[in-house]
């Protein structure tokens, strides 16, 4: 089963982090990604640019509206994601708990909805 792990943390934590510490954190991310590639659980994963680059798009009555900023202003921001393959929620929780940001921020784990393909 596929699970999306959404990584939320406070962007200022990263911005205020001393250079060596940020390097170490990046190293941990590379090692983590490599470990879930090896175990066959990695499907996709990306880090996102800071929230000030976000644009929210809505179409209402056929009219496009574009606004600056994320959908919701929150204390912790969506900073990246992994799409993983896990056998059940416990397995997915184990993987998510090893994402380095889980120690400073929050990882939201969501199962992917599977739709029946029309044949």
């Amino acid at each position: 089963m596929k699970y999306l792990c959404l990584i939320y943390d406070n962007e200022s934590t990263w911005a205020d982090m001393p250079h060596e510490q940020a390097e170490a954190m990046m190293g941990e991310y590379f090692a983590f990604t490599e470990s879930i590639r090896q175990s066959g659980q990695y499907i996709a994963g990306e880090a996102l640019q800071p929230v000030q680059t976000a644009t929210s798009v809505r179409v209402r009555n056929g009219k496009l509206s574009t606004t600056d900023g994320p959908f919701a202003e929150t204390k912790e921001q969506l900073g990246g994601f992994y799409m993983i393959e896990a056998k059940d929620l416990n397995d997915a929780i184990q993987v998510a708990s090893r994402i380095p940001s889980a120690r400073v921020g929050t990882v939201e784990v969501r199962p992917v909805q599977v739709f029946e393909q029309p044949t």
Binding site: M1, D88, N90, E116
Partner: protein
């Protein structure tokens, strides 16, 4: 004859239905399907047992009947939803294997059910409702009544929890050794919440709801039997030791009686003996935690023949250890009350004032009533009155409110 078979079916339902359900959930992989199968299996028993006789092993018979009923149900529904046909074939393919409903695997299924109902991915409210519904077999209406909420609310909570178990794929598993400490904590917390709601209902006219406490103690016993971990024993001990005072906690006219003024001859000696023995076992393991320590404190109270003979030095010592493993303001407050008994009201008051000065527990009525009580004993009547009034403004339970009103009245009479 038929009447006695019907009684047998009822008796089997009482003793086996939760076990059969736990096994059916494993075999069928779905809570709702398993509940329907359980229901159908008992209907089949009522029809067939009077005719064919009661089977040698009713549990295995019921599991097996339930599984075949579930396959029938899925086949019928497969006419409308083709995907269910695959599921029916899958269950059928495994159905030829003999039902492993021996004692050991059935006990494992009961643990799987408990751990799944108390999975931390479910909301605490849902964990409580689901545990009472599935593990204890309480009706939704009974759960709603006990928690003073509407039956539709509780029903919806249970439906949502089951959907999450299915959709997020929460596995039907006993946690691995690595996960066990965290997961056992979650289970113990649910049992404790149920007990507490029964022991000291958070609001309303009646102080206790005996049924919920009894359910929690039953759950506690089941846990100790299935998984004899020190903290499971500690929790069961704590529940038994508190429950032992139930008859003495309220007077004949429904008023609250404090520990120091209780008629100790009304305490349940059997529960005290069982609780004390469990405390010994848990402490002996050297892997005990907050539940065992709280039980040990309750055991010290239980051992004292009268309030004056209470070993307060030992109680303060236990609170010191408890405060290290659970550094919360509530534990600090309880420790302060013990210090007041051991060293005198002035020492206790200093500690309570320090907690309140931090802003912690400012809206907790028991902090103010404890402060009021110490001020009263020190003869500081005006301070006592002010704190009793503050406590009264915050208290929600009728017997507690009446108790505080009485104390205020007494202050008025003495000053």
């Amino acid at each position: 004859m038929a009447g006695s078979v019907r009684e047998t079916v009822d008796a089997v339902y009482r003793t086996e239905s939760r076990r059969v359900l736990a096994t059916l959930i494993r075999l069928l992989g779905d809570f709702t399907l398993a509940e329907e199968a359980l229901h159908d299996a008992f209907i089949a028993a009522v029809e067939q047992w009077p005719r064919d006789g009661v089977p040698l092993n009713p549990r295995t018979w019921l599991v097996s009947a339930g599984r075949f009923k579930a396959i029938d149900t899925l086949r019928r529904r497969a006419r409308f939803d083709a995907s269910l046909g695959d599921l029916a074939r899958h269950i059928e393919a495994t159905a030829d294997a003999p039902v492993d409903a021996d004692d050991e695997s059935v006990e494992d299924d009961r643990l799987r059910l408990i751990f799944t109902c108390c999975h931390p991915a479910l909301s605490p409210d849902a964990q409580v409702a689901l545990t009472l519904r599935e593990v204890c077999g309480l009706a939704t209406e009974a759960i709603a009544h006990a928690f003073l909420s509407g039956a539709p609310t509780v029903a919806q909570r249970i439906v949502r929890a089951k959907s999450k178990i299915r959709d997020a794929r929460i596995p039907y598993q006993i946690p691995s050794r690595v996960e066990l400490p965290e997961r056992l904590d979650a289970v113990l917390r649910v049992v404790y919440l149920i007990f507490n709601e029964g022991y000291s209902a958070s609001s309303g006219a009646s102080l206790t709801r005996r049924d919920l406490s009894a359910e929690a103690i039953r759950l506690g016993r089941l846990l100790v039997e299935l998984l004899p971990e020190p903290e499971a024993m500690g929790l069961l001990a704590m529940m038994l030791l508190h429950e032992s005072r139930r008859a003495a906690r309220t007077s004949a006219d429904g008023e609250l009686v404090l520990l120091g003024e209780q008629d100790r001859s009304q305490w349940n000696r059997e529960q005290i003996a069982e609780g004390a023995a469990l405390v010994e076992r848990a402490l002996g393991s050297r892997r005990f935690g907050p539940y065992t320590l709280q039980a040990a404190i309750a055991a010290v109270h239980a051992e004292a023949p009268n309030a004056g003979a209470t070993d307060w030095r030992q109680i303060v010592g236990l609170y010191d250890v408890l405060l290290r493993v659970e550094p919360t303001a509530i534990v600090e407050l309880n420790r302060a009350a013990a210090v007041a008994m051991h060293e005198g009201p002035a020492a206790g008051l200093r500690l309570i004032d320090a907690i309140l000065a931090r802003g912690d527990l400012a809206s907790y009525h028991l902090a103010h009533s404890a402060r009021a009580d110490l001020c009263r004993r020190l003869g500081r009547t005006a301070d006592a009155r002010e704190s009793y009034q503050r406590a009264l403004a915050l208290a929600r339970q009728e017997p507690e409110r009446r108790f505080l009103e009485r104390r205020l009245q007494e202050l008025h009479e003495t000053s």
